[in-house]
Amino acid sequence: MSAAQWRRAMNSGATAVSAQGSLWAQRPVAGGASIPAVRPRPALGDFAAAISARHVIAMLALVLYPWAASPFFAFQIGGQSLTLGIIALSLAFLAGYGGMVSLAQMTVAGVAAYTVGILGTSAATQISLGWPWWLVVPMAVVAATVVATFIGWLSVRTEGIYTIMITLAIGVAFHYLALQNYSVFNGHAGLHKVVPPTLLGIYWRDPIPYYYLALFWALLAYLFVKYIVRTPFGIALQGVRDNPRRMNALGFNVVAIRVAAYAVAGFIAAIGGVLLVWYNGLVAPGTVAVGSLLNVLIIAVLGGLRHPIGAFAGAVVFVLLQNFAIDLLGTDYRERFNLVIGGLFLLIVLFSPDGILGWWAALRRRLLPRAANAGPPRQLPH
């Protein structure tokens, strides 16, 4: 995109960005049929009708996975992917349906994580208040959602690259606050030994229980996003993304809708943040450092912003790479493993702007030409 195009895009808002074919562009995919059309207000019957064989199989695979995998694969690969996926899902919702790329989603998750450590129990006994988990977790989610709303309120007046800049600035500011404040955030060391409660006789940080905990919330967050984008609010949000001026002329309060989208995304990221602190067993400034903020964007783009499931697909690839890239090189070159990670990211982004989902759609078209051509051409989800 040339500088002139950028300027035009910035001046005329999301319509122009969309027309130029950015990440969340409404690109007509020839018969891209796997995604159901967006319809307002789904009834329960619709929901049942939308369940197909592949949903059942995917669900079965997800539920049976920890029993087939080693504890390491259940916890560090499965559990971590689902946790990071939830946080990336919040960005996919904001960017895919709201057209706003926020780099502060990990910051919101970090606020929830820190709140769990500060109000609950941690190794820093002079800071942690030791409240029970059933009080701490809702407080953490509320606190993070409030912060997300505030971030939204600050940044909705900007567009495109300026939104990225302002959210990055907020993220970096929070990182340094956590790094240098000792009375509340415990500075450089952070809060160690923040663990989930033992409930119903189950320690929820054991690999299989944690996997199911993360799976439950990931599913809930996923369905929540799928639902909310079909509500009047979700439809209005997509309208604002595509043409804010027209929506304004139609009498919608564009700023309010955008701030609300930040709040919704913040709520999802907060759930991810609570899970993240339990997964790591600690929260430290590194959890909300610039690298971690960017990881969320990488995961979302890797999976493809076209659809909420992309966040989880991206998270799986990201976590597998983080863990196993180091094994792909010979023993003498192990320290060069970041080359593999960077190279694969480049490949995916260069050859499939829609991330892994784009590849999946292309694969389906090639394997199932009949299915792709059959049926009426359907609308993309946004």
Binding site: H192, N323, E335, N338
Partner: protein, 416 residues
């Protein structure tokens, strides 16, 4: 779902399963040792040098210990505790290493120590992390640290400063765990012997502007204690010179390193005589140290001119792990009970003095007091003035006295 799709799904799944179980089989005459250091992030260069130190220990033994071939499985972190635990978990649970060496930095060390409690069958040996709390607070029975830590590295420097006549000093240090420990190591004896630390300035890591700190240094102090690392130290020195500061300096273990010694400002001359302390010194002239440096240079053409502190610490920890394996003839059965007993008894003469551990599984080592001297060619170097042997984690105090003082922090110890 049609047939095509089903078969592709099956293929993907079976590939995933094969991926998951690979690495489970291994020949019995090889011992896998996990090696974790920071190969990415701000400590990437020290992390690489750490790996060199560990590899050197193995090379000196011909790649074998206890009659078994040793295979290093490397992992990487970026100096954040969550990444360190993830990398350690992968090495232990996926790659099935039996002994784990690492990590590099203090907060990582605490996190890995906490994780080690959930893996009682594996023995964890520290890399170079030096947080006091790792072994003093809530220690783990299977976490061993053969190096001494940040506070121990400063023991004896307080007396040395007093001997130089520095009765009143002012502190400038970075605001995190490692400098807290260093300052405690200095002040424990400095305060007890009648010195006064009239004020403290804790600055954030990576501070560029020291003008407000410099303005706070009182006129009547004899010297300043500077516990800053790398570019922070150079920035401070430059600005202190520009504002006309003329107090002598006392340095921490990573303050007066090569970057500071290569300093080109007008105050260069005044650096001569600056004391500091640490667990090793480049200019040691014992045969053990000379052999260590020669071996390092011969093996790593791309390494530093002389092994760094991190290479040295990984070296002694790895060597201890291998010597204990020799002692039990490679027997790691029975929950590694015999191996751990051997580790507890392991003691050898390292490149910079004896290496052994106390009953808390923390290193008891030698601390070297050095001073900057000017060579005949005009270059500056740290010369060893004296060595303090057998420094324990209680800094030469009795256990009760040390517990009364507590771990080093912003306000502990205090003697204004």
């Amino acid at each position: 779902m049609n047939k095509n799709q089903l078969s592709s799904t099956v293929r993907v799944l079976s590939a995933a399963v094969a991926f998951a179980v690979a690495g489970g089989t291994w020949a019995a005459d090889t011992v896998k040792v996990g090696l974790l250091a920071t190969l990415e992030g701000p400590f990437a260069a020290p992390g690489q040098d750490s790996m060199r130190g560990a590899e050197l220990a193995l090379k000196q033994k011909g790649g074998m210990a206890g009659g078994k071939k040793i295979e290093f499985v490397k992992g990487s972190s970026d100096a954040t505790p969550d990444k360190a635990v993830n990398a350690t978990r992968k090495l232990v649970e996926q790659d099935k290493v039996e002994i784990m060496i690492g990590p590099l930095s203090g907060d990582e060390g605490i996190a890995v120590k906490n994780y080690s409690k959930s893996q009682p069958g594996i023995t964890f040996i520290n890399g170079s992390s030096g947080a006091q709390a790792t072994t003093l607070l809530d220690p783990s029975p299977n976490f061993y640290r053969f190096n001494s830590e940040g506070a121990q590295w400063m023991v004896g420097l307080g007396e040395h400063a007093l001997a130089k006549g520095y009765k009143k000093m002012y502190l400038i240090a970075e605001d995190y765990g490692f400098p807290y420990s260093q300052v405690q190591g200095f002040m424990a004896s400095y305060c007890a012997k009648g010195g006064h630390m009239v004020g403290k300035s804790w600055v954030p890591l990576g501070t560029k502007d020291y003008s407000s700190v410099i303005a706070k240094i009182p006129n009547d102090v004899n010297a300043i204690l500077v516990v800053l690392g790398g570019s922070d130290a150079v920035n401070f020195l430059t600005q202190y010179e520009q504002t006309g500061g003329d107090k002598p300096m006392v340095g921490g273990s990573i303050t007066v390193d090569q970057t500071v010694l290569n300093y080109k400002g007008k105050r260069r001359e005044s650096l001569v005589g600056t004391p500091s302390a640490g667990p090793m010194a480049d200019t040691l002239d014992t045969p053990e140290w000379k052999k260590f440096v020669a071996d390092y240079k011969a093996n790593f053409k791309d390494g530093f001119p002389s092994p760094s502190l991190f290479a040295y610490l990984y070296y002694i920890n790895t060597r201890a792990a291998l010597e204990a394996l020799d002692a039990v003839k490679g027997d790691l059965s029975g929950g590694q009970k015999a191996y751990r007993a051997a580790l507890q008894k392991t003691a050898f003469n390292g490149p910079a003095g004896p290496v052994k551990i106390d009953e808390n599984r923390n290193g008891v080592g030698t601390t070297y007091i050095t001073e900057v001297v000017k060579g005949s060619d005009g270059s500056l170097a740290n010369k060893v003035i004296k060595s303090v042997p057998n420094v324990t984690q209680t800094l030469g105090l009795s256990k009760a006295d040390f517990d009364k003082m507590g771990l080093g922090s912003r306000d502990v110890p205090n003697c204004p």
